[in-house]
Symmetry: D2
Subunit: 345 residues, 4 copies
């Protein structure tokens, strides 16, 4: 039984982790922390959480947690996690960080988008937690930088084609769409019901922080510098994410090459589902699951490749993938605690 702690349990990702660990047959929730709700039961924050009346939010104190937890999920804001990881590691606690703080190999890339990184040693050690791609390193990692939701949709769709040189690494576009929970539970006009409802809008064109994360991983696998055009949009749904990705095929690629590449990479993967020819994913098809559904269209005349990938941004895009990584770290099957069947509604 893995003893688990969750930092930042009052946020949407945090409470999703509480749900997943509570339903996990091989893990037990031992501690939750929240700076804003310290001393309060989790059910005060989320009245819908049944049976959690005894779960009291505490402060994040590595020493106090050292004997109680084997692994800590950090569901904290970007730039906050950085300081908490090392003390936990020092106490022998494994860390899965869901912020951007431990996702980058190159500290400069991080610092350009966020701020000065104060723990570059740990950053160098950390493993990028895209489960299907970095499974081997995740197995033995002490610290995981869990991927962003946008990067997860884009990288899972692109990496097999990039790696096998089926798609040109130049000129790739991802037109991505996220539900409102992606912006978290903190208050903002953007997340005000009356502003988000009955609307749809692009945002941060040209300067979204997820581009460097995507480009770093793509570049590693393409073995050359890759730049992509990435435009995120806000959709009036609570949870869900779709990326529609456009690229150009390398010469003499046939549609079956694309499907074969995905098969080679994902045939044994429980959470990546390649859809049949002519079918494309919808947010509702993956809601409540840890799946990434991928559909592809190839126009042989023009060489245009269109990929559509969909995830639940709070699961495969955050808490679900984090638990999948925990499973891998502790020698469990990926699906453990994540194979709850969902209905379409």
């Amino acid at each position: 039984m893995i003893k688990v702690g969750i930092a930042g349990a009052s946020g949407y990702t945090g409470v999703e982790l509480v749900k997943l660990i509570s339903n996990h047959p091989q893990a037990r929730l031992e501690a939750v922390t929240s700076s804003s709700y310290k001393g309060k039961p989790l059910t005060d924050i989320f009245p819908s959480m049944r049976g959690f009346e005894s779960l009291i939010c505490e402060e994040l104190d590595a020493k106090a947690l050292s004997t109680r937890v084997d692994l800590m999920f950090l569901a904290l804001p970007h730039k906050v996690s950085m300081a908490y990881a090392a003390p936990l590691i020092k106490e022998g606690i494994k860390v899965i960080d869901l912020s951007a703080d431990f996702r980058f190999s190159n500290p400069n890339a991080y610092e350009k988008s966020y701020q000065k990184h104060t723990d570059k040693d740990l950053l160098a050690e950390s493993v990028y937690g895209l489960s299907e791609i970095y499974r081997d390193q995740i197995k033995t990692a002490r610290i995981i930088g869990n991927p962003g939701c946008y990067p997860t949709t884009i990288l899972l769709a692109l990496l097999p084609l990039i790696k096998e040189k089926i798609i040109h690494s130049k000129g790739i576009i991802s037109d991505s769409k996220s539900g409102v929970s992606g912006a978290g539970r903190s208050l903002s006009l953007t997340a005000h019901y009356c502003e988000a409802n009955e609307s749809f809008t692009p945002y941060k064109i040209g300067n979204h922080r997820h581009s460097p994360e995507i480009e770093e991983i793509l570049s590693i696998h393409a073995e050359k510098k890759v730049n992509i055009t990435f435009v995120p949009h806000l959709v009036p749904v609570t949870r869900g994410m779709v990326s529609t990705i456009y690229g150009q095929a390398a010469k003499s690629v046939h549609v079956t090459d694309i499907r074969k590449a995905y098969d080679r990479w994902y045939a044994e993967e429980p959470f990546v589902r390649l859809l049949p020819q002519g079918r494309f994913p919808a947010m509702s098809h993956v809601r409540g699951t840890n799946c990434c559904d991928i559909g592809c269209h190839f126009d042989e005349d023009t060489g245009r490749i269109i990929l559509v990938s969909a995830i639940d941004n709070l699961l495969k895009g955050a808490a679900g993938q984090a638990v999948q990584n925990m499973n891998i770290m502790f020698g469990l099957a990926d699906e453990t605690g994540l194979d709850y069947v969902q209905s379409p509604l």
Copy 2:
């Protein structure tokens, strides 16, 4: 041409007033005020407002407005309006206040639900702006306390039946439902998209501030103390309000008595629409209009009367009724500037 100013233009009611006055054939928008956006163009707050780039938010200064406006709409928070009305009146500016501050005849009732009232003279003078019922007093008023949205739905449905003693004044229940814009544009978890979306919930059972406003008016017309049971609920829509009202018929009432009562009161009213027998209103039927739709059901066996009334909370429930009152004050037909035909979507 009526010269109009709007205080609190950065809120949802304020900007709705901006819209109505801009479309009004006999009124001209001369000033908008906003304490939080002072010096900024209205289009910075609401990028969708075309052609308003030159409308700059100013401070609310009665002196500065005295030569520029004939009438001021105060779309300010409860407890804030109170201080601004008198200086405007003194400058000869008529005031329509959309907060609760000038709605009560009895200052004690106000003070019980809000706070100490600092301008009881003006409160005594102010006229309750339920247009259909207080038209005569509104004509000559210098200050109007524009009704709350919940009271508007409930009073328009009940008053004819109360006044004509068709319904018992005892035991009346209003189960009321409001869209999220009723809570305004300020940030709160309640109005967070992910909390309001895909939910529905009652709130403030037993202590909502609108009860005293409703009960005061009902009592006046019933000529005895009336208490009602009022339960508001939050619906995941941007705009709209429905009240389902339950009461008991007086002895020997027939269904035609009910319809006749409404006809006597509202046959000439452009904005109250009694639906045919067996038809009931929907929020979508009144969205974007100043109408109050009323449907009624009477069970002769049990004497149970069920009334359903629907409004757009930002129009007949706030800005629309305010403009209707302005029309009455300035001798215009009620419909002036409010008769825009809406489609159902």
Copy 3:
């Protein structure tokens, strides 16, 4: 391991049952039927159902199912189920019917609202599947009439107070609100996105089929004829149901009497949660769970009792309660397969 079949798997209730049985540790899904999709895999109907490619919809044939299933859920339209139950029972298959066809004790009540009942013997034998109230009879039943969603919210809230004579059986009102999935997956203008979205509306005032079902059960427990006023409304959410119930307390009732009554009835029940004083349920608090949350308010001055109960209409209001009943019939704990913890989003 209980071998289960589901008839009508292509509807929303049917697919919810598929989900629940698939996640159930003591049940195995052996057959699904659908007249409209015969011969097609379930994933053709619901592309989001992963891993169900091999589940092929068949015709509902009692003989063919006799050796394969122990229990059949009938998620068929009202008036259709009636003919299918007896043949299944004859083959030794237990039946949980989710239509209205086996809910009534009195066939006249059924026939008044629906049509001639063609299997009055089985109707007489069938047990009303309100799990918390009829547990003992359910244990040994061969056929269950699973309650309607509206009746479930209303009966669970009212029965303890009716039974203990805390609330007057006269003059009770239920103002109820349902998400759109309550109307099923068949096409209608009412369920068209553009008609339901951004609206809210009452429907079938005075003639909804659920009233007789509610009144029959209330009357049995009150030991006298009970009539209620019941008004259903449509809310723009996919799943969820809230009933706000109004009644009058019997003499000298104290607020603690109400809470004690609920405690006596439900303290040991895993799926009925009485909320603390001053807290009321929201649809989002029970979404994805089999819970019925109940909040209550009592005004000692007026004797007015206000109850609010909320369920997920597809779970406690249909498929969830059906599985709870299956658990009871097969000697399992109620929670088996239904205790999946949900997050608030």
Copy 4:
């Protein structure tokens, strides 16, 4: 006063036309037709339409309309309009057709996507009703093929840049998103509330009928064959459309060239609004208006141009542009009857 008839008034585009003509100061609604609601008042179909009780749906009979209307809007399904236009024209009635039937110059392009065209003469005569681009031809036209909603967003954004050779005509991508009303009022699972709500999905990748319409117009203005990649998506909102368009700049293009091109084309246009640098449109910013908002981003390093254009699909994307075209045909200012100011909610 222009005497107007509307064919297909029971659809969403039809009823939007009823709204616009009713609010139009220079037009009068003389007839509405509907095959499915013949003989019924419009208010039976749309209970929210106040004051239209006397408007009875009739059959579409050119002869019967000849003395009563000057102009007929055909809001009929694709492939149905074709047969009705000629008889109306023959009676001297001008026609604005909102289906695809009269949009193409090249009948082969039409026939490839739809069916055999049975009135090629009229097709040859018809003018493409993209108001800003074809104003001169519209002035004297007898028949207009009103543009599709997707083409309107894409063409208004691209044509100035194509015409002035600022953007490469090769490799253009439009990732487009539409509200559900774009699919009309007919029943389908796609438009079922529970299927569209809380989801987001691409559809008809590789074979949407709007591509040929877009490509034909782009090719004319580029003076060479233009192919685009067009992917439509469904957004859970009632009304609204956004296209995010990606292209490559011609050599030595500067960001100011792009803005200047738009200024040259649209500075005098009341309904095309170029947003300031760094601002992008949202569906909510154009809802209820006839505006097309355009935002652009240019990355000088990579030459990547990103355009975002937004319209209300029922207005500038259908009924609004149709009325704009009527205004042009009858010598009125474009804005007549279309300049109603909207608030953001």
